[in-house]
Symmetry: C2
Amino acid sequence: MNKQENKQPRVIIIGGGFGGVQLAKKLKDAPVDVLLLDKHNYHTFQPLLYQVATGAIEADSIGFPIRRIFSRQKNFTFHLASVDNIDTKTNTVETDAGNYTYDYLVIATGANTNFFGNQELEHYAMPMKNIAEALNIRSLMLQNLEKALVTSDKAERDALLTFVIVGGGPTGVELAGAISELRKYILCKDYPGLCNADMKVYLVEGKPELLAAMSSEASLKAKQFLKEMDVSIHTGVHVSSYNGSILKIDDGTVIQTRNVLWAAGVKGEVPNGMPEETVAKGGRLITDDINRIKGYSNIFAIGDVSFVQTDANPAGYPGVAQVALQQGKHLAKNLRNIIEGKPTTPFAYHDLGTMATIGRNKAVADLKKFKFQGFFAWLLWMFVHLLSLAGFSNKAIVFLNWAINYLTRNSDNRLVIRYFKTDTMTVDPVPR
Amino acid sequence: MNKQENKQPRVIIIGGGFGGVQLAKKLKDAPVDVLLLDKHNYHTFQPLLYQVATGAIEADSIGFPIRRIFSRQKNFTFHLASVDNIDTKTNTVETDAGNYTYDYLVIATGANTNFFGNQELEHYAMPMKNIAEALNIRSLMLQNLEKALVTSDKAERDALLTFVIVGGGPTGVELAGAISELRKYILCKDYPGLCNADMKVYLVEGKPELLAAMSSEASLKAKQFLKEMDVSIHTGVHVSSYNGSILKIDDGTVIQTRNVLWAAGVKGEVPNGMPEETVAKGGRLITDDINRIKGYSNIFAIGDVSFVQTDANPAGYPGVAQVALQQGKHLAKNLRNIIEGKPTTPFAYHDLGTMATIGRNKAVADLKKFKFQGFFAWLLWMFVHLLSLAGFSNKAIVFLNWAINYLTRNSDNRLVIRYFKTDTMTVDPVPR
């Protein structure tokens, strides 16, 4: 083996989410050098963000340091870096940690919250796409319960105790369920002064049904569960405005609230430098069936930021972890094929099913062969999520939290570690 | 029982630290209404802050919601409030959550970091008195390791890899030990590019010995442990300045460093409104032997903010958890005595001993009857701290972390959840 053979092509992956991490793992024995760039030094298990936001589990238990995942992978390097621009002419990724040239580039930047251009909503509604944002929601919620206890203004008290979740997909449904359970199990215990208060939980969805991407059985059962839990469901309507205290829905409903949680849409996180014609609606990068971006030979996109546009599948794949994981795995094979001069194979998504949990013993599951709801769906949901978490100690800690929560109907993670300032909607980084 | 009897005297406690929480607990069956005010909604187990700062344990596992501690105590109320002023003439505590009148007031606000008036140090050195500050240190440390990997400037790289801990008390010794272990066990695994880098750990103390409050055996052994762990120890000297990159010591030593952790002094957190003559050196409220503040009949101070000045004990008690706990317990008895018209009894501190841990299998313990160092001191240290943590799940999670850390010499809590901006020394509350 001569020295020349050591000069392997460099694959740069931007983003350490499900897709990026999976791709990097599967390139372990490939004849490439892998450089993963992310603005966070950890991988986030996004499906459990809502449990961090509602104080069920520790924030640190759904983050896993990227360096630890790859500590034994020789051809892997990680840099904490925020990408400023991609120069496709010189094959360069420009970041705040320096510039890097690539032979192959994979954009796996995922998606961020979409407020559809409404700046007032963007300012006042709470997004939940990363751990910091989930902790912001936790702080806001707990602070508003505290404020409700001491205010003498009845209308303000009602607004502080009114929670509106916008978006009836899995995230919105799970948040609405978790907040409703907090009302049922925690309010009286921890806030005796609010025991008889009228805390309200609303769920607002634009489509006619909740969980529109799931089966009608799942969708109807989720609605029934939430109704039993006294969540006020408004479907087929849209939020038209929210100014920090008054939320207006386009059917004329007006809700006074200090808590609006936004789970109503996402858009791809397209890095600067990618030309307009590569970007589809929703900020997704248009790719062919091997996840290669339109017009490029060496730039790819996977996961939520990608839009695999083929005749057989004109609408693309859903923005879920499974798609990202499978695309990461498949692209690893194709990158090897490309480097070795072999033919590539088209990506095909194997839908393993969808699940959403609404509360204690209450979940809905659509698997390939059968659909079921209730206790067994809930058990399966927990089992699948626990196994998917990175790291033994994260698994153990989340399991422990869940076991304790199940037995005591309580948790001890309801801490306001950063004070949320509702006037500016920012967090006070310095303790008061 | 007529209605009049329900109108019990109101005891306001400011601060939910060791002293305040203990006092409130021990007033459970006393004929008083207890109102606890704190600017945080949780009790912090400060002795383990250094483990949060160094990524050994989860932040949430050393915080426990105050409302949960007291959820079954009928005569207890908590309000999340930042105290603006105490009006001793009208017996009123003025806060951002409203004004409260008291019959008895107990100030248990603890102590904060003392930079001894040096504003440059206050700006650039990292304090560690609460969870937010511990997380700031974690972010800074991890970000600087990342920066060290990508910088091409050798001097800057050395500064990023140089850690100076100022203060050789238990906190400083524990921090120096933990950072030295991070260098030994983690650096090569997680940062292969820094494997052969010269990461330096300094410990600077003004007194001639480390752990000056402990026995000379403990003090010498701690020094020996730290030297074995390659910590550079400078005793009998003081930091004269630090401008964010150059630290100067008054013996002429100059250290280029981007990481200065400040554990060199505390001062009491005296609320506004307390007259100057009640405040002793170090910002502590002068009290008599029943912890009653000089010149007042109904205002008390316990814990780190108090200075029990008696002829028998002119120097006061050390600022440790045990003193606060015992004073809280004792004051509960005396408050009952006062209310019931019985004579009070003077507080006497029972020193149960002091411990400090330096690293894996390495700790020092001074108990009443004997002093020992090494493995058994370390076991005892862990046992005592674990049992002292509030809540079963915190105990279980910290134990789990410790067990995994012990077996794997690693942890998965090294997450930069908030980005620390070194130019302004503030945290970016909004994810980049």
